[in-house]
Subunit: 105 residues, 2 copies
DNA sequence: CCTTACGGTAAGTGACTACTTACGCAGCGA
DNA sequence: TCGCTGCGTAAGTAGTCACTTACCGTAAGG
């Protein structure tokens, strides 16, 4: 959850959404150093958002649909609850506006 | 975007999803002080995720469906792109594995 | 072999930020 | 008017974290 809270990590994910890439490729398209990218990738990997595959001396990173789906479902519940809750919010606000200055129970 | 990156702010949002609440109410249910909640609410307000209404001396905060929808749509595009991209990822991985070792379809 | 390429890790640093206490201000009731 | 309640803001601090450079292991190629 906090894994997608960082802008650089979102940028990395967006790159990986287009195609899998090695560490150096990612670093080349980002304003940070290669070790920084490595560290971000470790966080993303622990969050099950990416997977890595050794290809010769290079290491190819790719989106992990497993973890992505989990995070997606979390936010899905969040938003749907938000919209469902909004109706109650609107009602309550209407109540409050109707009786400003009045205390409920 | 960074607004939902903080755990305390997510907690505040989850409280507001259930019902609108005043600052003290929120602070009472959280392990942080009331001013801290105020500061978080300011961030959420600037992110258009909550709205506030003065009711007497109290200030009622509620979910702002406008901003929520925007953020929701951003992630929606993100996830769908992630899943769509995964097919390409799987294909590419299969290609790469073809040169190293075969795997199941 | 030895060399080169690629990448993970260690260690250190700077900046951001979430939090605290202290203070000031507006609205309501007595 | 006076006191009380509820909040926002200022100021200061501690901890987190993103980033850097330096170093080391590993895989391919001569």
């Amino acid at each position: 959850m906090d894994a997608v809270g960082d802008g650089t990590r979102r940028a990395i994910l967006e790159r990986l959404l287009e195609r899998p890439a090695a560490v150096s490729e990612l670093a080349a398209g980002l304003p940070v150093s290669r070790p920084a990218v490595s560290q971000h990738l470790r966080v993303l990997k622990m969050a099950r958002l990416v997977t890595d595959t050794q290809v010769g001396t290079r290491r190819i990173y790719a989106i992990d649909p497993e973890g992505v789906r989990e995070v997606r479902e979390y936010w899905e519940r969040f938003w749907s609850q938000a919209l469902a809750g909004f109706k109650a919010v609107a009602d309550t606000e209407a109540e409050q506006r109707a009786g400003i200055g009045r205390k409920e129970s």
